[in-house]
């Protein structure tokens, strides 16, 4: 109180450590710069906006480097400097690296799509950067208000991105579906947050955790309801079953790079939010969210994999739909360590497996989307049967896709996929969730089937072309796509040689 009386201004205005908040800030500033530049650039110069976006994202990712030693905090309460709204700890940095790197690859994928489909350039790059800024802010947020704001900053631009193909009815429908279901989920989450605030009187995660340890008897139900409702919004973002129904149509309707973006960054947003809320804010309610997330994980992986298994390869958009459903299945694996954290002695260690898995998944899934983007340029329907004989036409591309699919399946030579699954699996076993481990094993087997069936297509002899039609000349892989495939491929191969690079997160205490 003394300080307040002496210096009323300093007590309210929190100090800001600009270096710490550089990664999301750079992305946000870049977004604004792109939007303004779009107004003033002549039409023929507008293709420059794409490389500028990539550069901004690279810069934002590089700004993580000075932060890597030690925990930095900012936006702390002046009354209690230990309670902060923005923390750059190892968890934050790992997820921010994932988000910014994935956004960079998605931007590379977008370059050809923006040109081919004549998407509005300024809007597209602005929306992408804005969404990435929100996604990069989220893992650093340590109070519920910032979390929800970051979640919305990440989500709102993505609705617009999905609907950006204006001429296409499917695209608009997908955007509307996505928007309505997402807004409902966020509203439910907000209600949960308000319940939690009512029960605890604080929004900072640490304080909420303290208060929840001994809630007043009358407020117990309110707090438990609040905890459960808060999770819904984040579960929606990870596309966990039963909050997944928007996924396949949205992915198939959106421009392909946007689907790739959502499949990785949407998930990163969802699971990092879940981890923060569960492990940081509600640790004492583990008996509520632990079983709930375990059931959610089991449902998600089973639902996603079974649906992916049922995709018929000759149907239009079956490749993207398969990736969409398989991403639902993979989201199930991501949830397993979070559920296990409820039962673990050191929850911060268990969730590391999620981060490690997400790093692997981000690299190989984006790689698979990059190859799909290439195939989609010649075969607009992008059916799995269109991949037949890809090895004969484009050996390196086919080998890369085969490697990505084997990583997703968890088979050698995709060593990193295998060991990331082992890390996730061992958290379930350690937590005594034997049944969840068994469900996961069954799902790995189901997934093997459709990943392998796709891989086998790549190496089959090309379908005999109709005698009248001249054989189409193989299309060269566009330069940005080559860069994206090479980048993700190098990361996947590097991680397979030295899995410790990703798996060290599974052994460290992140939070």
């Amino acid at each position: 109180m003394n300080a307040l009386a002496q210096d009323p201004v300093r007590s309210v205005v929190q100090s800001v450590d600009w270096l710490t908040i550089a990664p999301p800030t750079l992305a946000a500033l870049g977004a604004l710069a792109v939007l303004v530049a779009d107004l003033f650039l002549p039409e023929r110069r507008k293709p420059l906006l794409g490389p500028v976006t990539v550069a901004v994202l690279a810069l934002a990712a590089l700004s993580l480097l000075p932060l890597r030693n030690g925990d930095r905090t900012t936006f702390c309460l002046t009354a209690d400097p230990a309670v902060c709204s923005y923390v750059a700890d190892p968890f934050t940095l790992a997820v921010q690296f994932l988000v910014l790197g994935a956004a960079l690859v998605a931007a590379l994928l977008s370059m050809t799509a923006v040109r081919d489909e004549a998407l509005p350039r300024g809007e597209y790059w602005f929306l992408l950067l804005a969404s990435a800024a929100g996604a990069a802010l989220l893992p650093a947020a340590r109070d519920l208000a910032t979390l929800i704001v970051a979640l919305e900053v990440a989500s709102l631009p993505s609705f617009a991105l999905v609907g950006l193909r204006r001429a296409d009815g499917r695209s608009s429908e997908a955007a509307l579906k996505f928007f309505l279901s997402s807004v409902t989920a966020t509203a439910v989450s907000l209600m949960g947050v308000s319940f939690v605030y009512a029960a605890t009187g604080s929004l900072h995660l640490d304080r909420v955790a303290e208060e929840l340890r001994d809630t007043a008897p009358g407020l117990d139900t309110l707090a438990a309801t609040g905890v459960a409702l808060t999770l819904v919004g984040f579960a929606f973002k990870t596309a966990a079953v039963p909050f997944h129904s928007w996924v396949p149509d949205t992915y198939a309707g959106a421009p392909l790079p946007v689907a790739a973006y959502l499949s990785v960054i949407g998930k990163a947003v969802g699971f990092s939010g879940l981890i923060l809320v569960t492990v940081q804010a509600f640790p004492s309610y583990g008996h509520v969210w632990g079983p709930a997330l375990a059931v959610l994980a089991a449902l998600t992986m089973t639902g996603g994999n079974v649906a992916a298994l049922r995709q018929r390869p000759e149907r239009a958009h079956s490749a993207v739909r398969l990736l969409a459903w398989s991403s639902v299945g993979q989201a199930g694996y991501l949830l397993v360590p979070i559920a296990a954290a409820a039962y673990a002695d050191e929850p911060g260690r268990a969730v590391g497996a999620t981060v490690a898995y997400a790093l692997m998944y981000a690299a190989v899934n984006l790689g698979a989307f990059a190859v799909a983007a290439h195939v989609g340029r010649t075969a607009a329907a992008n059916r799995i049967t269109d991949y037949r004989g890809l090895y004969a036409a484009h050996p390196p591309t086919a080998l890369a896709l085969a490697f990505f699919l084997l990583c997703l399946a968890g088979l050698p030579p995709g060593i990193i996929g295998l060991f990331a699954k082992v890390a996730v699996f061992s958290t379930a076993v350690d937590a005594g969730l034997g049944w969840l481990a068994a469900v996961m094993a069954v799902n790995v087997v189901i997934a093997l089937y459709y990943y392998l069936a796709w891989t086998a297509q790549l190496f089959r002899a090309p379908a005999p072309a109709p005698a009248t039609a001249p054989a189409p000349a193989p299309v060269r892989v566009a330069a940005p796509l080559t860069a994206a495939i090479a980048l993700t491929g190098l990361i996947a191969v590097g991680l397979s040689g030295a899995p410790q690079l990703a798996l060290r997160f599974a052994a460290d205490v992140l939070l």
Partner: protein, 538 residues
């Protein structure tokens, strides 16, 4: 026999695993100047011979440098960390159990490469063929050389992809379906196996470890009986698919029938051994209580496999059944691997030594048989037994090898009698020791049950002899002519060529050697088995 210091041995073993891997990568690159040869195809096939030859030389030196006075201890050990987060280490080493298998693998792959050099595979680019064979060799050698459960799993799986493509791209009729079936069966099995390995590794006493030697020393301490049972069951299923054990064998006949000659030789000669090796190396020492409970069931399945395999072969060898010779040898493999599993299931030193011996013998003999059948197919254009058995007078049909290609016929007869377990040849000792083990199984196992198994397995040897002799009679002698009809002279088939002799003679020599001097193998495996089965006196 030749003194080598420890570092040299370690490097040799590492080279044995890494060389084929590097060679596989190099096979896909264009040949450097000076090594171009007559054509890119010839150059890459020669590259295959060179690399497999180098690997064979390295294993030979390894076998000579191996301290034969203490084959029970791990030698040439390398142990470096790889993924500390999961406790996975790059741990290589060899002892009396794995050394013979390493040599067998290197030898068979070299012979296959030699054979392919002179008779290039029919199918797409030989570059990919050579790369796949080398990758296959790397995976197999790694399976036998690694001492870490996770690496074992990796190596075990690495083999799948090259084998799939060898069958699917270079195979015969029905190849894509057969290859797909092979991959699905083994993958399903190995996922189950991975669960078992994780159960063992994560539940190990003193924290998670996947080190086979450490786990074997623990001997299942720290694991409850239920865990051991589950782990033994899970690992056992994965290995049994690969072995293959009846009733999980049904991928094998199709895969063999469709595979190219080289694929069949490697599949039967080397890949099947990975399953039984896993039983001896992992299941027996790491989860002894679990396998003790499961052993009678394993033995029952093994014996069923012996009887089933030989009955299937008898049915195929009948006149008019339209049996395929490759399919027949594949089914005979089911029977032979049944003996190996029976030996393992006795849980005695005698039985396990017999199993390891039968393993090697089957690799040599069945490898030879598949080579020979490939040669018969080259010459007559068919592997259909009925067509091969038609009278020698029919134009284009009928093998009657004794008359038309006597050396080939002689070798085929040799392979057949070796396979039926004639004393004095390699096939005899393994099966006899397995039966001997079943006569007196480990303490706690029901002796009457094992006596029944032994009797049935002995019956199986009789049936085996029956169908193999039928095959020899029909293929080598041809069908007798109606009395009175003048025997029409068959057109001569090209007899065994030089490169074929070169590929087959080593197998023949080793079959005779192992038959006459079994101590050469038993001296290696005996002490090693003693270590893997502590507390067993027989």
């Amino acid at each position: 026999m030749i003194p080598l210091n420890d570092t040299a041995m370690r490097l040799l073993l590492a080279a044995v695993v890494v060389l084929p891997l590097l060679g596989a990568g190099a096979a896909l690159l264009p040949a450097p100047p000076g090594l171009r040869g007559r054509s890119p195809e010839q150059a890459v096939l020669r590259h295959g011979v060179t690399v497999t030859g180098a690997v064979l030389a390295a294993t030979a030196v390894l076998a000579l440098g191996f301290d034969h006075d203490r084959p029970g201890t791990m030698q040439a050990e390398t142990d470096i960390g790889w993924i500390p987060a999961l406790g996975v280490r790059i741990h290589l080493g060899t002892d009396g159990v794995s050394l013979p298998l390493l040599v067998l693998t290197a030898l068979l792959t070299f012979l296959c490469a030699l054979y392919s050099y002179h008779r290039p595979p029919e199918g797409p680019r030989p570059q990919a063929f050579v790369a796949l064979v080398l990758l296959l060799e790397a995976g197999t050698l790694a399976t036998f050389a690694v001492l870490d459960l996770m690496l074992f799993f990796l190596a075990f799986e690495t083999v799948l992809i090259p084998m799939y493509f060898l069958i699917a791209r270079w195979g015969g009729a029905g190849r894509e379906r057969a290859a797909w079936r092979f991959v699905l069966y083994t993958l399903l099995g190995s996922v189950v196996m991975l669960l078992g390995l994780l159960l063992v590794g994560l539940g190990a006493e003193g924290g998670p470890t996947f080190d086979m030697t450490a786990l074997a020393e623990d001997g299942g301490r720290g694991l409850t009986h239920t865990t051991q049972l589950l782990a033994a069951l899970a690992i056992g299923i994965g290995l049994a698919v690969k072995t293959p054990m009846w009733p999980l064998h049904s991928w094998l006949p199709d895969a063999h029938t469709a595979a190219p000659t080289v694929g069949s030789v490697l599949l039967a000669g080397v890949l099947l051994k990975m399953g039984t090796y896993g039983f001896v190396r992992i299941v027996l020492p790491v989860v002894p209580d679990g396998i003790h409970t499961l052993a009678p069931y394993l033995a029952a399945f093994a014996v069923t496999g012996i009887i089933y395999g030989s009955l299937a072969c008898l049915a195929l060898s009948r006149s008019g059944a339209g049996g395929d010779l490759k399919r027949l040898i594949a089914y005979s493999s089911v029977g032979h691997m049944g003996f190996v599993l029976l030996g393992v299931a006795t849980l005695t030193r005698t039985g396990v030594n017999g199993a390891l011996f039968a393993n090697i013998a089957h690799g040599l003999i069945t490898g030879l048989l598949f080579f020979l059948v490939g040669a018969v197919k080259d010459r007559t254009g068919t592997t259909d037994l009925d067509r091969l058995a038609l009278g020698g007078g029919e134009r284009g049909g009928g093998a009657a090898l004794y008359g038309r290609a006597p050396r080939l016929g002689g070798l085929l007869a040799f392979g057949a009698v070796a396979s039926l377990g004639l004393p004095g040849l390699a096939g005899f000792w393994g099966e006899m020791l397995a039966l001997l083990g079943a006569y007196h199984p480990a303490d706690g196992l029901s002796r009457p049950a094992y006596l029944v198994f032994m009797a049935l397995a002995a019956l199986g040897t009789l049936l085996t002899a029956a169908y193999l002799l039928v095959v020899v009679r029909r293929v080598c002698m041809g069908t007798p002519h109606a009395p009175g009809a003048a025997p029409a002279p068959g057109t001569a088939l090209p007899d065994v060529r030089g490169h074929e002799f070169a590929a087959w003679i080593p197998l023949v020599v080793l079959t005779v050697l192992a038959g006459l001097w079994p101590a050469i193998l038993l001296g290696l495996t005996g002490p090693a088995v003693q270590n893997l089965l502590p507390g067993v006196s027989r």
